[in-house]
């Protein structure tokens, strides 16, 4: 995945690839809202098939987990693209705090900020919300490894 062809893609193409060419993102209906270097916003629309508590109709925490992991990954790769070192990244760890249940029926939005990009490790924070970012559903803190191919093995 490293090499010059990777570096020629645009930020918009990178964002589109994350939402349209990743099977799990397509299955969840994840859509790209905005992306700029180190900052990414993605959303997952409400879908009854993603409910985790049938009594309340609330979307499963696992959907929020996947959305947060995904948007954090885009925050990292968008910053790598800006630096000219785009390549594969892998989540090392992901910590999520669940503040409250998502409002049934609403789209869930997640915003991620890659606030430190080192040579091998990137650090990211993210927030998931529905109505207002000031009233989060969940917050995340993640570390990603930029894999020189096979380095994670």
């Amino acid at each position: 995945m490293t090499g010059s062809p990777e570096q020629s893609i645009t930020l918009a193409e990178l964002g589109a690839r994350m939402s349209d060419s990743t099977p799990q993102a397509v299955a969840l209906g994840i859509r790209l809202v905005t992306v700029e270097p180190g900052l990414a916003v993605m959303a997952v629309p409400h879908d009854d098939k993603l409910v985790g508590d049938p009594e309340s109709g609330v979307i499963a925490g696992g959907v929020v987990t996947t959305l947060l992991d995904h948007v954090c990954g885009l925050a990292v790769t968008s910053k790598l693209l800006e630096r000219g070192t785009l390549g594969p990244v892998a989540t090392l760890d992901l910590r999520i705090d669940y503040m409250r249940a998502a409002e049934p029926g609403l789209e869930i939005v997640a915003r991620a900020h890659c606030y430190k990009l080192g040579h091998t490790i990137a650090f990211v924070r993210a927030t998931a919300f529905d109505v207002s970012e000031d009233d989060p559903i969940a917050t995340a803190q993640a570390a990603f490894a930029m894999s020189a191919r096979g380095a994670a093995e």
């Binding site: 799990q24 098939k49 993603l50 925490g61 696992g62 987990t65 996947t66 999520i96 669940y98």
Partner: protein, 143 residues
């Protein structure tokens, strides 16, 4: 007793739409469940490797914890997740994944659970999760 456990497990697996979305199953041995996530193409997060989406592995381990607590703690609502820390140890390959949850500390309302997920060999886990879950009685007191 074990029939009750099996019924509770089946009830959770069949009632939760998201578990069906993942295609997750679970088997019961005594009071311990093994979560089973058969491979399916829609679970892929990296088409180059290919590898399971990290969020899917996290969600599968969280659901394994919830199923384990549902089996172990009757007469409660579904546990609510307070926080999780997920460690990714190896790429989740395009094959079946298994997980077991260990209840480390069972408080009156808050439970600490460790989960490990593996594919080919239990000794080579692909991911681990540590989390806290909230247990609530079936009938919440009237507001």
């Amino acid at each position: 007793m074990s029939d009750d456990r099996a019924q509770r497990l089946t009830a959770i697996l069949e009632r939760l739409p998201y578990i069906r979305f993942l295609g997750m199953r679970a088997e019961l041995a005594g009071d311990e469940i093994t979560g089973i996530l058969p491979f399916a193409p829609h679970l892929i997060g990296n088409i180059v490797l290919p590898a399971l989406h990290g969020g899917v592995l996290g969600a599968f381990m969280e659901m394994t914890a919830i199923c384990q607590l549902g089996v172990r703690e009757p007469g409660r609502r579904l546990p609510r997740t307070i926080d999780v820390t997920i460690e990714y140890l190896r790429p989740g390959r395009a094959r079946a994944t298994f997980a077991r949850a260990e209840v480390v500390k069972l408080g009156r309302r808050i439970v600490n659970v460790h989960v490990e997920a593996w594919q080919d060999a239990r000794a080579s886990p692909v991911a681990a999760l540590r989390g806290h879950f909230m247990l609530s009685p079936l009938e919440p007191p009237a507001a």
